[in-house]
Symmetry: D2
């Protein structure tokens, strides 16, 4: 489906970094969700660059909802959000000189040279603003049902944040946090590392950790549309993501079964697991425990250091020195994208499971 | 789509561990692929348990292809493979006593108690035999086009295999290897670790590493149907998989952009990257370099040690001591499943890209 | 999706006329549907040829359900039905001599000569036996919810059956009827017309009319997945169908809006329409009135008269005189296929609408 | 998929009659299609109302293409077209008073009263403007490949147009024709009938006939994604369509097989059929002959005569007298919608078949 994803709730995204606008169509929302503009604005603000740790290209993200909302509430028909691009400097980009680590070369091959190469075109992280706006509507609807989502920067520039603790409190704190860490000191160290890299004309990556609470047991499918499969599929759409792991993830491979298995017991009449090494999912289906996963975000490929590349027009090797405005890290901006993508998948799978009518 | 996956090539799987048979329907194959029974048998043999490092339940996997093949070649219409279950001992399983780490509890909630609970039913790893048989047909077709796939056990029981070296040679060696490691000594240590765990009534997990060579540049989609997203989606369908990472994966987060970016250059007229930290994929699309990813396989949840669980029929906590026949590790059997699932996705995406007509 | 259809309930079909078996996979059934073998057998019997008005090839249709049923009830995981082919005479068919009106030529082009040409291969009406068996399971489940489906032969060989009257009574009568007409005399005339055609080595077509009662208002989607669109899509899969019309259908074009519009009123607290020119559907969505549509079934293309055709192997025009066993009409056999396909779509759309959980 | 349709080329539509805009996203276009604004404008003009035979609500349809086009050519990434609504009079509509023959009642049930009821909201024929604009891009691309599409009003107000004759000439003439008939005199009679109905505060329907030339043999799928099934599915999305028939359609049921079968022969080396009773499609797959089908368009349900309806807010029967601006017929405006929808399906299926790379 290329740019459309989901089963009962589908999201379709469109736009280019330097085109007139970007946007998303959400199809399959329940009717009667109240659209919370404050929430959409807050989420877009969390994604917006600010300060030396981000690109100087700042978009105001003055979105419009042009369909699917009537008298402030969703109608149940396709909801379309459009966000204009206003702050573009297309002169910074040259045709035929692919930036290493970017999609410039692969896009050139796939689209036979017709792609909009300016600022990464349709591959640009700019398009995630549409995912964030779309996600905010769904996050609101999930919140009404007691489902909460939060992502923190687990690692960045060699610095670790503390682990999740009391989840609902942590998620609440993250919602208001501009630089999403649980330990403020760790956050300062991470920012220093990003600033260092920026000073060197370089960039850093990081690991995001996402938690979802309140998803009832029974959501997901045994084989291809496992919760893990659907979340992973969607998360790998976020530019720069190179890995994902659920629960204990790769570390679970070092355990024995007797350590990895989560014993089952009752708590207040409900079935729980005493540990959560499986991250809330067994056999692709939610077990009622918090869903936990981590996502690897590579260092931003746009750096100011000279790099070896090829000139696709002349067929000669060459060197590239980027101009323009670039992020020395995106992990702090990507965390709200992770929340949004997660929300879209969880809402969709809850609809499929009948947990949202 | 639940039990169907893919765009131009779809695979639909069905069956239960203790039902009469399992199977798969492949729709969207080219007409004229010669069906190579030796290859199917070899792949099924690689998945089949053997010795103390596997379950004593050995199925002969006498598959039948009941549609879509005529005079030894695919017709282009749906190809259906059926594999009978012959060696079942259903008395080993009890209703309402979910095994920790398994899908018993989540399946019970989702299917309201109507699920076939015997041996994990539809959640059983047994169903992967159908994926392996289906994958073998596609592996053959890809091989004709110069696309080769191989998976080795990168880590198991605390032991590491050596890294991939000369890829096509390594892949060729793995194709014949029963216990798929590149370093035979490492393999012996892994087997010893599995045997140890088995003796303790326990189990171990591991990490698989898969390489694909020969995929042309331009395969995959920029957003939701990225190669990473499609491969991850499919790989999380394999029971016990809890993580996936491409190229340098989670480790790339510790690099700076100048280290992580793969410089582009020409080699023999073709664009290549000098390093392959991105695992052959940029912006969701193949760049012509080998596709490399690793998959985390958790320790088999079926162990013989007593475990705490709940009795869903009485609503009381209880203890569970498994009877029956179980694998102390599945990582060595799962590697051929990884190959198969990968082949199905790569073939599908190559068809979408027009690289297979 | 080629051979898979549906949203929440998907049906995948496979098999060839002269292969070992045909079958279907149903994915997305509720758990807990009791499988009614008597109903499946009755429906298959309604499709089975008998007497001079049908082909002499009679298959016993000894189906097996090989997955998705446990202790007599659906599990909710994929249900697979397999029906062996036992009575095949492949020698009756020649490669490269397309039968006019059949898919022989188009199949040859599409599948590049690799298609199984015997008896129409995968294009054969034989595959509808799998749809009938699959449909029977869904018809049973819909019946439990008060949804009833019936199809009669509205026209055949120049003879008209009477219109539907008291629907639930008519549907009940049709369920037991071997030659599905509401007026027995009309049925005898139709059979005589078929017999006449058979005697001439020729064939006749007909029009089927289907009614569905008990579908609640609100099922269907406004645009692409309209009830009409979904039913039409599925019905055109039935071989020989060349037209479909809902409610008054093509005749509604001759009315004025004041005649065609169905006035709304209340009856027993429920909204009804006083007439049903729209066949129970407005804007693609059920309005709670009976769903009514008619399907055009062309005369069976397999006839015994000599016909002009081409020899694809020599590139020369030639004449073809069919051997083998053929139906002088299929409309009386197709009616149960219409019921089945309708049931699959209605069940699917009711699941999407949340009317079946 | 609700508001998204297609396999390799998908179209997603959004918007409401009285919202800020309507639009469509096309995903899966080839890169490098030159966007022909004159063609888009001409097609939109063909759909635009004019004179007494149409509604007085005239929209200027000043569309913007906001993504997927770069330097005048498609990029291959999603192409989004937005068309503002400017001429809305929302005061003409009342909540809770469903218009007979419209989707007001079914939309109310499905969307639980949250639907935008003004002017039919998302159900409005207004949304077809987006399909027409999207279709124009595809019509251009198909034209480059020698595929031509034309639709005429076969019947309206009791008057018949002549049959298609020399197809490519007829299609060319229709492209320029405002009131799309092949016989100008018949057209005048139709217009008189529409004017009569308008004078009576009433409306008329009609039958459209569409021809497609230049589609190569081998496009379409044997079962669910037959060309007939895909075209029918899409055409039933067009508001007011109640029937569709291919080739001889319902009339073929009155023929014998020997009359209905199209003999095959060679012409200039190519396989042709001597007649075209099957409308260019056998077994769901194009045979290289012109594709011909007819669509039944019911009389516009919006009429000025008083009608019986229900008051959904009070639960009482009531009478409704429409205010506002309405079409006494839409068949003359719908013909370009038929062309557009057909083009979208043909392009999609040609991509799936590999006939467009």
């Amino acid at each position: 489906m290329k740019n459309t994803f989901g089963c009962e709730l589908t999201v379709t995204i469109f736009g280019e970094s330097h085109g007139p606008c970007i946007g998303a169509v959400l199809d399959g929302l329940e009717p009667g969700i109240r659209v919370d503009d404050e929430l959409i604005k807050r989420q877009l603000a969390h994604r917006r660059p600010s300060g030396v740790i981000s690109t100087p290209r700042v978009e105001r993200d003055e979105y419009s909802i042009v369909s699917g909302v009537f008298e402030g509430m969703t109608t149940g028909t396709p909801l379309t959000i459009i966000i204009p691009n206003t702050n573009t400097k297309s002169g910074d980009y040259e045709r035929g000189l692919p930036r290493p680590g970017h999609a410039d070369y692969t896009g050139y091959v796939k689209y036979k040279g017709f792609e909009d190469y300016r600022g990464g075109g349709h591959f640009s992280g700019r398009i995630t603003a549409a995912l964030v706006a779309a996600g905010a509507i769904v996050i609101g609807a999930l919140g009404e049902r007691g489902v909460r989502i939060g992502t923190h920067i687990k690692r960045c520039g060699g610095v670790d944040d503390r682990d999740f603790g009391e989840l609902d409190r942590d998620i609440e704190a993250l919602a208001e946090s501009v630089f999403a860490v649980l330990d403020a000191d760790a956050g300062e160290c991470m920012k220093a590392a990003i600033t260092d890299a920026a000073r060197d004309g370089d960039s850093v990556g990081g690991v995001l950790e996402t938690a979802v609470t309140g998803v009832p047991a029974g959501v997901g499918e045994p084989w291809f549309d496992s919760l893990e499969g659907m979340i992973a599929h969607a998360m790998f759409s976020v530019p720069a993501v190179k890995g994902i792991e659920f629960g204990r993830g790769f570390d679970i491979c070092g355990l024995r079964g007797s350590e990895a298995n989560d014993p089952l017991s009752y708590s207040g009449g409900a079935v729980i697991t005493e540990t959560n090494n499986n991250g809330g999912i067994n056999g692709g289906i939610s077990n009622g425990m918090p869903i936990i996963f981590r996502t690897a975000v590579k260092p931003t490929p746009s750096i100011f250091k000279p790099q070896r590349t090829v000139d696709l027009l002349t067929g000669e090797p060459t060197s590239l020195e980027l101009k323009g405005r670039h992020d020395p890290a995106i992990v702090h901006r990507a965390r709200v994208v992770a929340d949004s993508v997660t929300a879209l998948v969880i809402y969709d799978m809850m609809r499929v499971a009948g947990a949202i009518k």
